[in-house]
């Protein structure tokens, strides 16, 4: 720095700070308010929602959706969609199931193979999107159906059924099961290790987004791809990395559901990709990319988990869940639209 710089720093006025206004402008603010409202409502309306037993149930429900919503949120901030994310959770679990029960492969090896295949499919998604310039919505819709078909056809071809049974009898099952499916009893509530995974994934994603170079690039490629290219952001690496992250998260969720129940259905995860997107959008992600937060997506999933279980606790018809989700989504999109026109519309 030159002397003028130092003089300028010494004499400059203090940077203005408006903590409350800045807090309100955060993308996850809307989701936080909504989560608190939902929590208070069910705590008052039902007697067992705000107990340890109740919390264990809705946290477990939110955790797997939360892991995926956070990964999908990163991808959406980067300006892309992944419709194959839901079916991928079943796909990875089926790989482990088939390799161990039918081919007798070591379960640890099978889990690693499953991860490798997932990352490969994610990389392929990203590569096709970047090379062809086609919308990721279409490309991953294709992958979604290809995988959904494989899940059913191959599982049936090899095992003769549409689900994997007998996982618990596989050698070394007990050595790996606690990693993904462990639970502890606190008071009257059962808390699964998946909740910890969810917190961990959210924390890492938040750190990457806000404090790592990769996070800067994610916001940039989603916000203005051409500008990013011009200033030297590695756009190919960033986008392919995002698709691989989503696939990796799907693998984690696949393992969690496999080792918690020791069984997997061939249609696991189908239809859930939209719930991940809803959680991410409710958490403040823009559909057009360049804006959003991992904590917001985690809160979106928390809302989903609480409403899903809250409706059960309140003994309402659970079919209302979808209507509620749809309404939440519309509200969130309207809120986001307002934020965007204020922040990005320019003058």
């Amino acid at each position: 720095m030159t002397t003028t710089d130092i003089v300028t720093i010494a004499t400059r006025p203090r940077m203005e700070r408006q903590p409350i206004r800045r807090l309100l402008a955060r993308p996850e603010m809307g989701a936080l308010v909504a989560a608190l409202a939902v929590m208070i409502f069910f705590s008052v309306y039902t007697s067992n929602f705000m107990t340890l037993a109740g919390a264990g149930v809705w946290l477990e429900s939110a955790s797997t959706f939360g892991i995926m919503a956070v990964a999908v949120a990163l991808l959406m901030i980067g300006g892309e969609f992944d419709l194959s994310a839901g079916v991928m959770t079943g796909f990875t679990a089926l790989i482990v199931g088939v390799l161990t029960t039918n081919y007798g492969l070591n379960i640890w090896v099978a889990v690693v193979v499953s991860l490798a295949v997932a990352l490969g499919v994610g990389a392929l998604n990203g590569f096709i999107v970047m090379r062809t310039g086609l919308p990721s919505f279409i490309v991953t819709l294709g992958t979604f159906f290809v995988l959904a078909g494989i899940d059913l056809a191959v599982t049936k071809l090899i095992t003769g059924q549409v689900s994997i049974q007998g996982m618990a009898k596989v050698p070394f099952y007990d050595t790996i099961q606690p990693l993904f499916g462990a639970s502890i009893r606190i008071g009257g509530g059962v808390f699964y290790v998946s909740v910890l995974w969810w917190f961990l994934v959210t924390a890492i994603a938040t750190w990457v987004l806000l404090r790592a170079r990769a996070g800067n690039w994610i916001f940039a490629v989603g916000g203005a791809l051409n500008s990013s290219r011009q200033v030297g952001v590695p756009i190919m690496k960033t986008k392919v990395g995002l698709f691989m992250t989503t696939a990796g998260a799907a693998w984690l969720v696949g393992m969690i559901s496999l080792f918690r129940t020791s069984t997997v259905q061939a249609n696991t995860g189908v239809g859930q990709e939209f719930i991940y997107i809803i959680c991410a959008v409710v958490g403040g992600c823009l559909l057009t990319g360049g804006f959003g937060s991992a904590i917001g997506a985690a809160l979106g999933a928390l809302i989903y988990g609480m409403v899903f279980q809250g409706i059960t606790f309140a003994q309402w018809d659970t079919n209302w869940l979808r209507t509620f989700l749809g309404a939440m989504l519309l509200l969130a999109v309207l809120l986001n639209h307002w934020v965007r026109t204020r922040a990005g519309g320019g003058r």
């Binding site: 720093i9 170079r213 916001f219 500008s227 200033v231 030297g232 952001v233 804006f291 990005g344």
Partner: protein, 296 residues
Amino acid sequence: MSQITKTHDPIVAVKNIGKRYGAINALAGVTTEVRAGEVTCVLGDNGAGKSTFIKMLAGAHTPSEGEMLLDGEPVTFSSPRAALDAGIATVYQDLAVVPLMPVWRNFFLGSELTKGAGPFRRLDVKRMKTITYTELDNMGIDLRDVDQPIGTLSGGERQCVAIARAVYFGARVLILDEPTAALGVKQSGVVLRYIARARDRGLGVVFITHNPHHAYPVGDRFLLLNRGTSLGDYAKADITLGELTSLMAGGAELDSLAHELERSMGADSPVVKELEREAEALPEAAREELVPPTAS
């Protein structure tokens, strides 16, 4: 200011350069120079060859004739990156900013400062914010908050952030592609002030514009282009704003326009008088060049 380094040798000099795309002659016979602490304005109407000229300077195109000198040495840029490494930075019209990202993140995008190592390598947020604030302040932009999305800034301010960014990352020559084209009168004034600032900090500035009223106040040297040829390269002392304007409008065309209007509006019409006066004001040499062969 302490950074002023006026030298007598140009940083970049071009001699009779031109560009041919197959049979089409996009630009020919252009000679000018860029000196530290001076503004070289490139003026011309649409299709005059301004873009071709800056693309050659910026390394996006290689000239098909003539030579380019960097610090007196002949040079050929194989890519924009090569030009950038030589200290020639270009601020294009779209500015290469991400509207929803904070000013400081935009400032360092693609060249982020980090601290720590391995998986704990992280952004040095505090330092980047301080540098952004300082650099903008040095350009005379007082942003209260470098955390606001760059999209909330006015067009002129955004332009200035892009200029400040190029200056900070070591540009010696700054090429500005029509920075005032999309701006209103007031915002244009703001940008012109920052061009002067960059000049005062010792940069050689290449300012592309089609508005002589923007070019004349800040410019030290004026390169005029018309339909792929140079109408001349003037130092400020050799040309007045009136002459510049007339040259831009095309002296001979202005003459014939005056005659045409004379018939319909009468010789005493103030518009015609004005045009005639402007045509008179042209430098003699430039006028002769402009007259088409059939007319002489």
